[in-house]
Symmetry: C2
Subunit: 766 residues, 2 copies
């Protein structure tokens, strides 16, 4: 007797005839009561079944007792084995397969039963009633090379949740990006590449997308939310295009819109939105990036001619990394405004760079920054000014001006407040950049996940199919937490955009800290996620054709521009501290400490021995525990940072030195603060989600994000004795479990990002 | 009275006249007893000093009581302040400055004292006796823009320690790489770039560098150690050159040398070493990278014609990422050797790809892999074979052959052993690749450190000089641990090379695990270090001109090729486990567990409450504590991994499943194992270093590496209750301290890498 014969000895021909159908019925894990009822009803009519057959089949079709994994696998092996000689047409017919199996049975006494048209017709009818398609069945049975998109949740609804209020608009953009005109290509020469990007930018401007955030009177839609949603979408396409677009319409246009007044708007805004006037945002200098206040370029007022003289004092005070510098006709130049010998701090002025023939104007020097790690479609350059004269009107004068008598005037008396108000233009960038970065990360995750559900490596037994990459626990540990965090960040960044859009005309300082922190947290994630995805795709991830290479190279600078992440995180921490104590003098400080320590003591119940050890699933999976842990970390770091600051201030009499001494502590505090915000938002998103299938899925992702983040800080929690070892160990196992669970839905989860294949492009993912 | 007058009111003219000299004397932190003696002696002779002056000056010159920081800074401010109107010539004369200060004093009654030639001469004489150079003094006083290379240790000796036995040879290579012919340029077009790389390779071959590891009879030096040292040096140059070189001479040449026999050597080795025969190493397939054993390409023996038929069964079985594929005339093809219908496993065969006119031979298809994230100077391609016939002699037959009767014969009977013996050729690559990667990381660290000692950002007080980046604690935390780890890895990798070279003709399996683990650990470090360096250099780090961009892009694949790091680390773990138990049957396993648990108990003294809490400096800085912690981690992970494995094997009866379930655990174990080896080597290096200045410096680096690594695993140590919170907190402060300390020597430490400026190239670092 052959080994296969041994295998199916236990089943009768009658049961065999229905086995493929039943196998498929159970293959999604659940045979529904309706399906079961249909089968039971039909069974009675089947004259070709014996009583024993019927008893056995009824058992198999009880929705309450699904077959165990071993039985299920055994069925599959049987089908494979007995049907291996089937031709391709037979393989596409579930009933034909069943009959073939029946015929091959040892107990099959009368083959005619299993060849008759009547039997076949009866079984076909059953299949039809069950609504099982042969195509799907065939895929489930024989085509294992690709995993199907077998989702537990409504993918379309999930996509809608991520798209938020801009779902329709984003769908339009998806279509637009899929047009052949927007097909990405490898262009290695920077000049040719920059031309391509410029042409795309013009095309987008033509579609009215450049002016989205401008007032309708200048051809815009006065919709900052839509602008930022569009910027997110650009993150799925060529990042050079996103950045070029952001420089022209967001930074340059934004400076005219927010720092200029009606004269400037009337004169330039329409042309900027249509990209008839290309401009750049000339803030950073070689010697001064993060320290904008220390910029060296000067704009000195000459009362005689009513002009400003723009000047770069030394070589290293030249403007640096200025995007669009090679293509621009004009620049928003940030310079120290000197009126009558007095420095009024940094202001922006419009300085023409080139004439209509694109020749540089006298006194202006521009140099190409050359090739960069990525973003080579963006023309970054250096700009120097040698006593360039511009008319007084070119000062973007919303927050500071020179009046007719030649005196400096400003609606904001406090120079420091004025400076930070003007810098508010940067907040928009910090809201948008991480969204494009997240789109890049999502593209990478999508590619890595799809690859890992196709590529196999090593068989667990000789002769078996090799294992899918995504079925390796290490691979799940690599990719699933990234997937969860991408979802977490998506909701948090959307929320930030909304908050920003709502408060555009109010005081932006309230959200400045969150924007700075989210920008840092999210762009660091992008760098980390794409690195992981590259490695997870092995050599394939290194090839340009699979996109991750460019995504990595292009987004690498996101952690630096629009504010260096490390510097921004310190701003965040300072903001948190100064919410509690405006000044660091001792009296106020002690009050703060008292308040903080009383706040912490309300948390003490979390620290009692039972809670420290509590490690049952229910507790660990609860949003309440997770949120408490995140809050505790933030508060504890705030408390200890305040204490340390106080000690240092006492000792050194200098809050600057104290800040310096606590720098690494500050970074941890800022991170804890941002993570708390992200988790809060995610939990409330889960709570407010209507579609129950999406809600359940999001709940899993939220738990994975929360627990994985806690695990990353396990050293902190153990050191603070907020958790004990048994608890952190339990968290680790739970994460393994969640990773394996989310892995089951990894494909639909990346599908819900809604990245069109034409943009995804990677051969390993399509 | 002006503020500056207020400042120096307390000092007399006489003391002022010597202040600049004394300031410089103390500026390196120590006024030596000899210097002090010289001053005290001279003081007595100086008629222009009052008794009070002398008393004061004597106090200032007591080697036992150095001025406190505040006084020292006060001196500097005074000198700055009073000499700000000095002309440049005066500024270059320390005595002139002293006299100028004396003259400006309020109590200066007789100016003639401080203008007389006599006084000047007397003071000049003192300066000369002290051996203080004006140039150096000027730099210390006025030129703060660049930090001087003020080293505590002998930089040349340190370089010699790193270069090990190849110091002279490496110096020659440093000179060679600095020649104008080897000047690197940005070449964006891949074909032009590949031509450049090929030409460089030919030049190196001409110099005899390609054949270094081949026998002298074929033009080589029979020196694998030298080859590997040269490969390390190539890591400072263009990485495309390193990889192309490695493919031609190491992989292709290596396969002929190690898998072939005399016929092949005689026929090809000389031509390969001279790059007259370009070849590639065709192992990896699209569907099979890590799983070499599962390769699909076949080499079927045709006894009639005494030929092998090389065949690629399906599209995705094509050879993939093959370096040198576009330039090669021949390939070492790894294929399943089928003789008389029986598969004898993977063997290598020489298959001609192109004729002398470089036209592809019939049945061979080659496709360009196109652009990649980096290494675009290397021509990676895909190769397919369609029943290509090659003569029997082309089988590299050292470990397997077909005899005259047409039967397969092999000196190694066990097919598994045979396979792993043949794969031994890969060990060389795993020894060399991390060394080139480390050189790239060192280049990045050197650039980032040099930049951070020039670039300033934010002043701590209005009007003060801005702070150097490297004086920020966060910046020190970013770069100093990387610097320490680069040193740690350098010694460990040198050691591995030596071990490999020594054992070339013996069983390499002993070092296979260490090679695989070191390759993974070191190349992950390269990726992480270069990422950190890029970010630490901000926008400047993103520009191609500053090298980090290319270094990052080029080395990113190092974590994948020559074996995917994650897969390799599992091999390491399996190796560790199977050292204890050759078979995973239960009996042997329990014995292992018993043995392990008894080993661990000898460590129990480390776990008693006192040791857990012990956190004094001396204890934490001791190599004994550090080594114990590393060893504990390895053993504990080994113990728990074994326990878990045992549990899973009991439950599933399958060691494969058990391995899968413990995968992440295995990775941690492998890491702990490699880290223990690295620290052991570093400690013994410190111990064996003769030069006391280098020894002291290395000791600091070793401590930083050890404690920083422990901190990275703080979650583990707390969870295992091997340390308690007070201890991990003390370690954190100690690391901050060590970072600040090493920072003082950061410049000489990167100088000791010996990277020539011509190769370093980055404008921000030169």
């Amino acid at each position: 007797m052959s080994p296969s014969a041994l295998l199916h000895k236990q089943y009768s021909a009658g049961t065999m005839s229905l086995l493929p159908l039943i196998y498929i019925g159970w293959s999604d894990g659940i045979l529904s009561p309706r399906e079961s009822e249909v089968i039971l009803q039909k069974l009675e009519e089947f004259s070709f079944l014996t009583g024993d057959d019927k008893t056995q089949l009824k058992k198999w079709c009880d929705p309450g007792t699904p077959p165990d994994e071993e039985t299920f696998e055994h069925w599959k092996t049987l089908i494979f084995d007995l049907c291996k000689n089937a031709n391709s047409k037979q393989k596409e017919d579930l009933i034909e397969l069943g009959l073939m199996m029946a015929r091959s049975c040892d107990d099959c006494e009368d083959v005619s039963y299993w060849t008759s048209d009547q039997t076949k017709a009866a079984l076909d009818e059953l299949q039809e009633k069950l609504g099982i398609s042969n195509i799907e069945a065939h895929r489930k049975l024989f085509d294992e090379s690709e995993e199907e998109l077998d989702s537990e949740f409504d993918v379309q609804n999930m996509c809608r949740l991520l798209d938020d209020e801009f779902h329709e608009f984003k769908n339009k953009i998806r279509t637009l990006m899929s047009y052949p005109e927007f097909r990405m290509e490898v262009i290695r020469d920077k000049d040719a590449y920059r031309t391509q990007i410029m042409n795309w930018c013009k095309e987008l401007a033509k579609q009215g997308l450049g002016a989205l955030s401008y007032p309708t009177s200048y051809g815009g839609e006065n919709d900052m939310g839509k602008y930022s949603a569009f910027f997110e979408m650009l993150g799925y396409h060529d990042l050079s295009l996103a950045i070029k677009f952001g420089v022209q319409f967001g930074l340059f246009g934004g400076s005219v819109l927010w720092l200029g007044t009606k004269t400037h708007h009337d004169k330039h805004l329409q042309a900027i939105g249509e990209l008839k006037l290309a401009g750049c945002f000339a803030m950073t200098e070689t010697g001064h990036g993060s320290n904008v206040r220390g910029l060296k370029t000067t704009a000195t007022y000459d009362a005689n001619t009513k002009e400003f003289i723009i000047h770069t004092p030394t070589e290293e005070d030249g403007k640096e990394y200025i995007g669009n510098a090679l293509h621009s006709k004009m620049a928003s130049v940030f310079a120290q405004l000197i009126v009558d010998g007095e420095n009024h701090g940094v202001h922006a002025l419009l300085v023409p760079l080139r004439d209509q023939t694109h020749k540089l104007l006298p006194g202006v020097k521009v140099e190409d920054c050359g090739y960069k790690l990525g973003l080579n479609g963006v023309d970054n350059g250096r700009i120097w000014f040698d006593k360039v004269r511009i008319p007084k009107e070119n000062l973007l004068n919303r927050f500071g001006d020179v009046d007719e008598t030649g005196s400096y005037v400003s609606p904001i008396k406090n120079p420091s407040k004025r400076f930070f108000t003007m810098l508010g233009t940067l907040v928009g960038g910090r809201v948008c950049v991480p969204r494009a970065g997240l789109s890049a990360a999502k593209t990478g995750i999508c590619i890595a996940v799809k690859h890992a559900t196709k590529r196999r490596q090593f068989a667990s037994k000789e002769g078996q199919k090799e294992t899918l990459l995504l079925d390796y626990p290490t691979h799940q540990r690599r990719l699933m937490p990234l997937l969860a965090k991408a979802y977490a960040l998506d909701f948090a960044l959307s929320d930030l955009s909304k908050d920003y859009t709502k408060n555009l005309n109010n005081d932006l300082r309230r959200i400045e800290g969150t924007a700075a922190g989210m920008k840092s947290y999210a762009t660091w994630f992008t760098t980390q996620a794409l690195q992981e995805c590259r490695e997870a795709c092995g050599g394939k991830g290194y090839l340009n054709e699979n996109r991750i290479a460019d995504l990595k190279a292009d987004t690498d600078i996101f952690t630096t521009f629009e504010g260096d992440n490390t510097v921004l995180m310190q701003l965040v921490a300072k903001g948190i501290l100064s919410n509690f104590s405006k000044e660091f003098h001792d009296d106020g400080f002690i009050a703060v400490l008292k308040m903080l320590s009383s706040q912490l003591s309300t948390n003490v119940f979390e620290r009692n021995p039972i809670s420290k050890r509590k490690s049952d699933r229910k507790h660990l999976l609860s949003a309440h525990f997770q949120m408490s842990a995140f809050r505790y970390r933030e508060q504890k770091l705030l408390y200890t940072a305040s204490q340390r600051m106080r000690g240092h201030i006492k000792a050194t009499k200098s809050s600057t030195t104290a800040f310096l001494k606590c720098q690494t502590h500050m970074l941890a505090l800022a991170e804890a603060h941002i993570e708390r915000i992200v988790l809060e938002k995610f939990i409330s998103q889960v709570k407010n989600t209507q579609d129950i299938t999406c809600k359940n899925m999001l709940k899993k992702l939220c738990r994975l994000y929360a627990l994985h983040t806690i695990e990353g800080h396990k050293g902190f929690f153990l050191e603070a004795e907020y958790m004990n070892p048994s608890k952190t160990k339990a968290i680790r196992s739970l994460i393994d479990e969640l990773c394996a669970d989310v892995r089951q839905q990894a494909l639909p989860l990346v599908e819900a990002f809604g990245i069109p294949d034409e943009v995804l492009m990677a051969p390993i993912a399509i």
